[in-house]
Symmetry: C2
Subunit: 363 residues, 2 copies
């Protein structure tokens, strides 16, 4: 089979995998297709942790026809027992003769082992077909497995002159309805949305996904060093709320817990919450992708610590003038050599705004 056909079928598997985005935490999204004589005879995607893996669904649909077929999987199949039996065993028993994978599994329990078992049983294995596209779907899962950190996106709405709110806090609305609508997909895709208590004080936001059940909402995580949050804040009236704090000088913890908020103590550093520890904590909560929606202080601190992987900036064609708030209060630079470089990933128009997706190039 030509490489072009491999690419075509893998693209189909990737489009299936995408259907699981934002729903499979802590698992990666995966899509799979069984193909025989260039005809798709089975397909599936992982929809939720604990449910069937993608390759299981594809082989179930293929049934006896799987014998002699080629299986396309966006991620290397697992060879260990997790919440479900290992997929490698099923592949071996199904009679599949060729397996094409896009990306190998970064999970140290899996990495390369699944493919080695398949090869040792005489199955032909083709790797790296549309690898980058497949990895991009699981960037958070990969980050967590390899660095014990979530993949962190920071979403910021800005004016052309780099302002995010007036000095008095007014920021409604910088961007167009089309931009604000687009933010919904990033929230829905994230395992957690991180903000600082300053943003809660200032905007009293809900940071939820419109038209999504309470129980399906991403976790909202608030960094609140001294537990200064107002217990009446709108965000606290929802489910899936986590407060990360260092100390509780006003003895609010028990009331907040009674409201259903989960409280997680984090060590402090320089008299504020240690953001590296906070991010490691998010990783150990199995959050793959985290969306930051905060002000210039938290955003600047995360940037300074190298904890931001990607910026999503909605830039509106307006000017907000001389004393409005900037995107970042940190870092403070004394030489242009210290500038932080970004890599443009995607630029497009939303209404009158530009949405720019950029990766932070780490030194």
């Amino acid at each position: 089979m030509s490489h072009d056909l491999h690419t075509e079928f893998m693209a189909l598997a990737i489009s299936l995998a995408k259907q699981g985005l934002g729903k499979t935490q802590p698992n990666p999204v995966v899509g799979a297709i069984a193909v025989k004589d260039s005809v798709v005879i089975g397909s599936g995607f992982h929809a939720k942790a604990g449910k069937d893996h993608a390759e299981v669904l594809a082989l179930k649909e293929a049934g006896a026809g799987a014998k002699g077929s080629t299986l396309y999987i966006t991620l290397e199949p697992c060879g260990h027992v997790g919440k479900t039996p290992p997929c490698v065993d099923l592949i071996l028993s199904s009679g599949v003769t060729k397996v094409v994978v896009a990306s190998s599994d970064p999970n140290p329990l899996v990495n390369g082992k699944g493919l080695a078992v398949l090869r040792s049983h005489g199955i032909e294995v083709v790797e790296d077909v549309l690898r980058l596209q497949a990895e991009a779907l699981n960037t958070g899962f990969f980050s967590r497995m390899t660095k014990n950190l979530p993949y962190v996106r920071s979403k910021i709405a800005s004016s052309i002159d780099g302002r995010t709110a007036l000095a008095n806090g007014d920021s409604q609305w910088i961007t167009s309805e089309a931009s604000r609508q687009d933010v919904q997909q990033w929230r829905a895709r994230a395992c957690a949305i991180l903000t600082g208590v300053g943003t809660i004080h200032k905007d009293n936001p809900r940071l939820n996904v419109r038209n999504l059940d309470e129980s399906d909402q991403p976790f909202r995580v608030i960094a609140d060093t001294h537990l200064s949050i107002d217990p009446e804040a709108q965000i606290l009236k929802q489910k899936n709320i986590i407060l990360m704090f260092c100390n509780d000088p006003h003895n609010k913890a028990s009331q907040l817990e009674a409201q259903g908020v989960r409280l997680i103590p984090i060590t402090s550093k320089d008299n504020r919450i240690d953001l590296e520890v906070l991010m490691q904590q998010l990783a150990s909560l199995a959050f793959n992708e985290v969306l930051v929606e905060s002000g210039p202080t938290l955003n600047g601190q995360l940037l300074e610590l190298g904890l931001v992987d990607e910026l999503i900036i909605y830039q509106a064609p307006i000017i907000m003038g001389g004393n409005a708030n900037p995107l970042f209060h940190h870092p403070i630079m004394t030489s242009m050599e210290q500038k932080i470089r970004l890599k443009q990933i995607d630029i497009r128009q939303f209404g009158e705004d530009l949405r720019m997706i950029m990766q932070v190039i780490k030194a």
Copy 2:
């Protein structure tokens, strides 16, 4: 003749007109084509004030063949005597039977009169073919004729976080070589480049056009309220330098004049140079297009006064951090209703940077 052919020939006339950009001051750029039986029999563009007008060149080339031809002109022909005889007379004597124009002349001495004379002599006149495109070529001339102000572009190099220099002044280099090369065309096109003395103190720039003779350089105009410029500044060692000032507490004027600098006193307002008067002065010097290359103080003041027509922002994919200089120190806003709206005209990539051309929407 169909409208499509009118458009096609006018596009050709416009492309001829463009060859005069930056060279015809104080005149507008103009292109003209004489066409007979769908064949171009003469063409020309205005190359320099005092030289032949475009329509004169086209008709000269057409010679006796002009009789019965159609003349395409990007701007209404003049009916008054300037440095050259009126073009309308030549058109009448040439035997042209139809005249197609793109834009009418905003000069009150001309506006509509040239076309009226042609019509009164039985010549068919078609107006507004590619009008907007033709007007865009002479935006500065139109502004000066209708508002007694030049068309003011401000060029700014910025980071993604809206910073234009570090707190210590370092700004080399924010943008790519491709962006800096592109700036050359805007300088060459401008009649004058305006900057503040602060930029001279900080960067000691020349603000010249590379590979262009001294005498062909645009005028460099420096706003310097108290004549605080260092007489050794690089920019003062060139030709075509104008200093606009309010007072001379250090008695530098005579030395500067001896260096060949032209000094123009401007009234002050709130203890700084009155920028509206300065702009009117630039208009009365017959500068059609002015390019501002300055820091956040002058840029912000011009913006606040509504004296900026267009922003050309080269935005580099870098972050310059928390205490670097912004694009504008003014205006100061207290409500989002006061935001200044921009209209995106053009967005494109230069190296890794984005160049955004935006018009300031005046209230």
